[in-house]
Amino acid sequence: MRATDVRLRLPQRFNLVSAILWGLRIVVVVLVLAGAWATLSSGKLSPDTWRDLVVFGIAQGSVYALIALGYTLVYGVLFMINFAHGDVFMTGAMTAFFVARNFDESGFLNANPIVALLILFAVSMLTSMVVAIALERIAYRPLRRAPRLVPLITAIGASLFISNSVRGIYGEQDQAYPTINALQGRFDIFGIPILKTQAVVIVAAVVFMVGLVYFVERTRTGRAMRAVSEDKDVAALMGINVDRIIVTTFAIGGALAGAAGILYALVFNEVDWFMGFLPGIKAFTAAVLGGIGNIAGAMLGGLTLGVLESVGPFLLLGGAGVPSPNQLRDVIAFTVLVLVLIFRPNGILGQSEPGS
């Protein structure tokens, strides 16, 4: 509300700030066009490479989308950024790793890959859910009415606390997830060969998203959630237990993050205690890109960011002769974050000013 007012009253003259903003716009457009032109005209990458990059981008984008849903759901009901959500995602994947290793050693993983995967999902989702519920109960609930910065600082602290606790409990080395033989190789879908793991990841993510949409749109609890995000006080007057709905929201967000943890492990094969930080920020970027508080937006934002991040380094930087462009992929994600927040903070699908 305030942000809009201030913006409307700003004098429309060309001052230092707008000069810097325009400079930024021009620099970005020139860089993107020049980089893309240089790469495309050099023709260094084959169509097959492009296709693989795009599919990989969709796979990692669907992981981002699942995490982003957690940010969006919590933002929808509490208007706060749950900075520790990335670490909630990490706890699930880290805990499930030990189950997966056990399954792998006993041969169960390759004998019954589907059952084993389902159990892994259950373990990871349950862990993340418990952590998310505890986080809400201990760290956020007492601060509902505090000034906005207070819960944000708490969330930053909680993020450090969770990740370093996991580091102390499970150890600080990278853990390689066991591979599933049934998921090696490629599927042939409409003549496009796609890595089996990536296909599974995309399908699983879609299933979870459809489930979430059904839950929010069609069930009683989902309706209560929507009511709480509209207006907490009125919802309470209508007989909705607001505290319980908020806990439920955290639980669902946590469970989706746990699922994303397993999918992340399938795509990247490696987990460690610090893995929550970057995917967490990228998923937040995805949520903002799509319009925070908007479920469809989170999915769209996740996919967009995933593809941008996978294709971007090669398209924009590779052709310009920048050495080892993949090192800069995180810069692309952060640049998208910064640019979206500066130029379009309500995102692609967001209607109103966020936080109004």
Partner: protein, 586 residues
């Protein structure tokens, strides 16, 4: 027995015990106990790992002995019943840890819980077989829980005396890395041998420390009251001169500190100073202007890299300017960076601003690290060969004393000077028109704008002043290491500085100083602690926000802001039962 234990009470006690048990299990599983189990507090008697674990049932017992206000059924104020409460809670907490030992002895848990090592289990089992060990831990827990309850029942005077005595023992014991080398260097070996043995206090020294703590605490309160009375009774001009002399004495104390304390301590002081300078800068942005900047490390990095580029003959510029010629350019550069980063994010609301600045900080780090910019910034290898503009050794003979300073003892002085300059400037700014504008903006941006505060300009001013202060720290950091590496500038620096400000109190300069000493200085006492530093910082951020969001030494107006917003909630809550109980027991 019916009187001593009944179902509802047992349930409440079980809850306290279970929370304590989870805490004890957490300490064991996260590795803190293992890390500190060989660090002696009193050699041959107790180690720091044991102190940490014993504190858990002590607190659980203390809390369990508090009689809740709202439950009357079956609760009495009898000392015996409350002692039993403490015992039960401690027993449950100890029992949970005992269970871990029992299971850990039977099954190797190290595949998952890496900290549950045979060493740790040996440490926890008192040399008993596993069932015996589990029971023994539970009983010890119960006994300590009873002690906690007794502590609550005892008169406040005695409670205060015992607590101070114990804290004195722990503090003097933990200061061993500072005190012992210095004592030996100064040839007071006899004292150091009396005090310390195998990095812990000797038993007689522990008793002496305990007594000293008690005597100190007994003398402290009347002494303070007396001094205050004298000062208040004095006429104004006399009071002013007392104040001036106090400042002079404090200044002399700060100036000779590295001389008295030796090189190792001076090294720690330098580190504290660097972070203090950063915190003073961030305090302008977060504390005064209320803009949560999580990318503050970028300014630290810009300061360090600009210094490296301008002064090092090995850098890509290779001009090798003298440090003090380069410094104004560095400050201008950092101030401009502050403007450049500040301008686009001004319109963003608080939490978005935090994330965008975090993004900027990460972009800066990745760029410094990248191969792409390597010809200019040196990539992962960084930039070497930064000359140190300060003499390596000072030898001063001023008649009364012969001063010798070397290494960090020398660097301490420029850092001190910059810190004092920054603190002075920040203090003057906070109490000026600019500071009032920041205050207004922080409390309500729209109202501030309506009353004629140009929020854009004041936000930019805060950003660039913060950046300039941060870059000073970066420049001194580069000089201290004589090299810069991108690895030194990750997001954790920003968060550490934030934790310093939050602990001390946003917007409070004395608070920031205390925060830097506690969060940067204390960890240096405990080498084993390094791995758990961030864990503790995270815990500090959460705990401070929940319990005391205004910090240890609050800024008045900030305190009111934070509490005004939460007052509705606090009024709705019933009064704290423990306070009532404590009042009742007193």
């Amino acid at each position: 027995m019916q009187d001593l234990l009944n179902a509802p009470r047992l349930r409440r006690l079980a809850a306290f015990g279970a929370v304590g048990g989870v805490a004890a299990l957490y300490l064991a599983m996260v590795g803190l106990v293992e890390a500190f189990k060989d660090r002696n507090v009193i050699t041959g008697v107790v180690t720091l790992g044991a102190v940490m674990l014993l504190a858990v049932p002590l607190i659980a017992g203390y809390r369990a002995a508090i009689v809740p206000r709202d439950v009357t059924e079956g609760w009495t104020r009898s000392g015996l019943q409350r002692a039993v409460n403490g015992f039960v809670a401690g027993l449950i907490a100890g029992g949970m840890l005992g269970l871990l030992v029992f299971v850990g002895r039977a099954v190797d848990l190290r595949g998952v819980l890496i900290s549950i090592s045979p060493d740790l289990l040996d440490f926890l089992s008192f040399g008993l077989p596993r069932a015996g060990a589990a029971v023994a831990i539970a009983v010890v827990g119960g006994a300590v829980g009873t002690l906690g309850a007794l502590l609550l029942i005892s008169p406040p005077r005695i409670r205060a005396v015992i607590t101070t005595g114990l804290l004195a023992v722990i503090l003097i014991s933990l200061s061993e890395p500072f005190i012992r080398p210095r004592l030996e260097q100064l040839d007071y070996t006899a004292i150091s041998d009396f005090l310390y043995q195998a990095h812990g206090l000797t038993v007689p020294a522990a008793i002496a420390a305990f007594v000293a703590g008690i005597v100190g605490s007994a003398l402290w309160a009347p002494a303070r009251a007396r001094v205050r009375q004298t000062v208040e009774a004095a006429p104004p001009e006399r009071r002013r001169s007392i104040r001036n002399w106090t400042i002079v004495a404090a200044l002399i104390g700060v100036l000779i500190l590295p001389q008295v304390s030796g090189t190792f301590f001076a090294q720690v002081l330098v580190l504290i100073g660097l972070y203090l300078l950063l915190a003073l800068g961030l305090n302008i942005v977060v504390g005064y202007a209320g803009l949560l900047d999580l990318g503050y490390v970028a300014f630290f990095a810009v300061g360090a890299y600009l210094t490296a580029l301008l002064t090092s003959p090995d850098s890509s510029l290779g001009i090798g300017l003298p440090f003090f010629v380069a410094l104004p350019i560095v400050m201008l550069g950092a101030g401009a960076t502050g403007l450049l980063i500040g301008a686009p994010v001004l319109r963003l609301r608080g939490d978005y601003l935090a994330i965008v600045t975090l993004g900027f900080g990460e972009i800066a780090r990745i760029l410094f690290e990248s191969e792409a910019l390597r010809p200019w910034l040196g990539g992962v290898q960084g930039i070497l060969g930064i000359p140190n503009p300060f003499p390596a050794r000072i030898d001063l003979d001023i008649g009364v004393a012969h001063l010798v300073a070397s290494g960090p003892q020398v660097l301490y002085y420029p850092i001190l000077a910059f810190c004092m300059l920054a603190a002075f400037a920040a203090n003057r700014l906070a109490n000026s028109r600019v500071g009032r504008a920041w205050n207004a903006m922080r409390e309500d941006e729209s109202v501030a704008e309506a009353t004629g505060v140009s929020t854009v300009n004041y936000k930019l001013l805060a950003f660039s002043l913060g950046a300039t202060t941060g870059c000073l720290s970066g420049a001194l950091f580069a000089v201290q290491l004589q090299s810069v590496f991108p690895g030194s500038f990750d997001v954790l620096v920003s968060i550490t500085v934030l934790a310093v400000i939050i602990l001390g109190g946003m917007g409070s300069i004395p608070g920031v100083v205390v925060g830097a000493i506690v969060l940067i200085g204390l960890p240096q006492l405990l080498r084993e602690f390094a791995e758990y530093r961030l864990l503790v910082y995270g815990g500090v951020l959460v705990a401070m926000m929940l319990l005391r969001p205004e910090g240890l030494i609050p800024n008045r107006s900030r305190q009111r802001e934070l509490h005004d917003a939460m007052d509705d909630e606090e009024e709705a809550e019933p009064p704290q039962p423990e306070l009532a109980a404590q009042r009742g027991s007193a």
